[in-house]
């Protein structure tokens, strides 16, 4: 058990280190601005006094390293400073939106994960049949479509033509869970379609890879019934790739969510990021980027740890 903990600990340490490097990139990229933030906020017409005052207010008269350390120590305690457009605390702007995004991603994941894995296994078992070919073409089309294309098609049919679900997901505090689920159904469905296609293809590839191994053929040759070959022989070894597939696709959800939130005007962190980018509100952009990157790294980490836990071979690296 000790060496597992050691391996997981090492992996965690590496994740924290990468996150640290990314925070450096995110912070110092803004330093690359022609001029500085104060210049970017006030524009070309700003007077010297105004610039100096704003620089002092934002602490820009400090050296960059000091400001970075300040920002980083704040970020560890979820304090990202103030927005330069509205002056509000960034945490206040983003906090609730981040929860909304997590809700949407969780909603999509709860539907997509089980369906995709079951379908992926079925497709792998029926490989090279007409069903497999059709599934291949359909999933490929979903993967190749931009998220906004799928989103608008869903709006066109479900919201405009059949009027089953609202096209815009406006949320309020006092909604019941059922109402919330209906309001956010279309954005969740868009995410489900994309992620499910990815997950199905990856599950199919993993299972087919597994079914090609000699010990499965041995089980078949000795006359074990097909369901037993799958459940008793294939599945224990299939967990590792499947966990990997799930974690990687949840990480993919994080990026997909930005476009989907914009299509459905969903009050999430992706929308906040896009707004901040167009207003050049750098503290918010930095905070959003750091949160997205941290989530992404966390999920990739989960994939690695899951792989280590389910596959004993990885516990003894060469």
């Amino acid at each position: 058990m000790g060496d597992i903990l050691g391996l997981v600990g090492k992996r965690l340490g590496l994740g924290v280190f990468i996150l640290f490097v990314i925070s450096i990139i995110i912070f110092f990229m803004v330093e690359l601005l022609p001029g500085d933030i104060a210049q970017a906020v006030l524009g070309q017409g700003a007077t010297e006094e105004n610039l100096a005052a704003l620089r002092k207010q934002m602490g820009l008269d400090q050296p960059a390293i000091m400001r970075y350390l300040d920002w980083l120590s704040g970020a560890v305690f979820l304090d990202f400073g103030n927005s330069i457009v509205t002056g509000e605390r960034v945490t206040a702007v983003i906090g609730e939106r981040f929860m909304n995004t997590l809700f949407l991603a969780a909603y999509a994941a709860v539907i997509a994960v089980p369906v995709a894995i079951v379908l992926g296994v079925i497709v792998a078992l029926l490989r090279n049949s007409i069903f497999d070919r059709v599934a291949n073409v359909v999933t490929l089309s979903f993967i190749s479509s931009p998220e906004f294309f799928l989103g608008y098609i869903l709006i066109l049919f479900f919201a405009v033509k059949w009027q089953m679900f609202p096209a815009i997901s406006s949320l309020s505090e006092d909604m019941t869970l059922g109402e919330l689920l209906i309001r956010t159904f279309l954005p969740a469905l868009t995410l489900v379609l994309v992620v499910m296609a990815h997950m199905m293809r990856m599950t199919r590839a993993a299972i087919i890879n597994l079914l090609a191994s000699p010990y499965i053929e041995m089980a078949r040759l000795k006359g074990a019934p097909p369901w037993k070959v799958i459940v008793k022989h294939a599945l224990p070894n299939a967990w590792a790739p499947i966990i990997n597939v799930v974690a990687l696709n949840l990480a993919y959800l994080i990026t997909g969510v930005v476009l989907v939130e914009v299509v459905f005007v969903y009050p999430g962190i992706g929308q906040a990021l896009v707004d901040a980018v167009s207003k050049r509100d750098f503290p918010v952009v930095q905070a959003c980027c750091l949160i997205f990157a941290a989530t992404f790294i966390l999920l990739n980490l989960a994939a690695d740890v899951g792989a280590i836990l389910t596959n004993p071979r990885l516990r003894h690296p060469k």
Partner: protein
């Protein structure tokens, strides 16, 4: 019972019976399965649903015929060697090649195909289609059809330029890392790790918010984001080649690094690299389309598919599908390229069946 419904079922049942009689199992399964599904669809949606199914089937049939003809055409004009290769292409790959060909023609000859200029205001905002404008006008009264044609040139051109930049950067770094080895290899590997652990869209948004949405910024940002993927693949492929005896021999002859890369390693690792180029193009195209949908791509008045969708999205709430056409154009090209890449990967690597 309208004539349409009667003909519809007669055709389907006729096809199924013929397929069963001639022992074509797969065609029979599809045709008869469609018949059964149509019963349910017909009861729920009425003749309208059946018409939609018929249109889809007709489109699929048309696509199949076009791809078959296009493949035969390619086999005819290609040399014997190439023709043999092309014969192994499945229908989907032929379809992908046809789509790529169409887009190339559209992009190159845009000014001659499009009836109006891309920034020319010729009607009132959102004017409906007439003889002059095939698809109506957009939010500023420009001809939608012409803008879609020009979009092929602008959007695909930008994505292609960005992919080439990413590819050159990544492949060069990968080849150098494989031949040099040592600290350079280690260092580049770590850099690639860090870049790949930032979600691509987020990283692109960060860079564009800082440097502004200019074309050269987009190309550089995309190149930086996607070069690590190419780097890893090139590094792995070239790593297998570098240990070969003929490389050792060339080194003993006293050849320089550049000669090794150009004359020995590259010719032996082209197949996976070409497939990777196709895949990479799909990713880049989708990323650039997403960026321009968010208003951070090519700036107006240049026609660009992603931003066209966003600008005309209000039409969708009136049940008009025109804004979806540029989005569909993006999806179609990506699907086409993916089909071709699928076939090439299959051929070069012999994936497990």
């Amino acid at each position: 019972m309208s004539w349409f419904v009667i003909i519809y079922y007669t055709l389907l049942l006729g096809t199924s019976c013929l397929a069963a009689f001639f022992n074509k199992r797969q065609i029979f399964l599809v045709a008869f399965g469609l018949t059964l599904v149509s019963f349910i669809l017909g009861i729920i949606g009425g003749p309208a649903a059946l018409k939609a199914v018929a249109i889809c089937a007709a489109l699929l049939g048309l696509a199949a015929m076009v791809s078959y003809a296009f493949r035969e055409f390619l086999i005819q004009i290609a040399s014997d060697e190439m023709g043999k290769e092309l014969r192994t292409a499945p229908m989907t790959a032929a379809f992908g090649m046809f789509v790529m060909f169409t887009y190339a023609v559209m992009g190159v000859f845009a000014p001659w195909i499009a009836p109006h200029g891309e920034a020319e205001v010729i009607a009132s905002a959102f004017a409906p289609p007439d003889q002059n404008m095939l698809l109506g006008a957009d939010q500023l009264g420009r001809d939608m059809f012409s803008r879609i044609i020009y979009g092929a040139r602008n959007s695909v051109g930008l994505a292609l330029a960005a992919t080439i930049a990413a590819f050159v950067l990544g492949a060069l770094a990968g080849l150098l890392a494989a031949t040099k080895g040592g600290w350079f290899d280690q260092f580049m590997g770590r850099v690639a790790d860090v870049i790949m652990s930032i979600p691509s869209l987020i990283f692109a948004l960060l860079m564009l918010s800082i440097f502004g949405p200019h074309i050269h910024v987009i190309i550089i940002a995309v190149a930086v984001i996607y070069a690590p993927r190419v780097f890893r693949l090139t590094r792995a492929v070239a790593g297998n080649v570098v240990v070969m005896d003929y490389i050792e021999a060339a080194k003993l002859r006293g050849e320089g690094t550049w000669y090794l890369i150009r004359r020995e390693i590259l010719p032996n690792s082209t197949a996976p690299l070409v497939a990777e180029f196709g895949l990479e193009f799909c990713f880049v195209f989708l990323l650039v389309a997403g960026l321009s949908f968010l208003g951070l791509g090519i700036q107006p008045p240049t026609a660009d598919w992603g931003s066209m969708v966003r600008e005309n999205a209000t039409l969708i709430s009136f049940g008009d599908i025109t804004p979806l056409i540029p989005a569909a154009a993006i999806a179609l090209l990506t699907v086409g390229v993916n089909f071709v890449v699928d076939w090439m990967l299959h051929r070069s690597s012999g994936l497990k069946e």
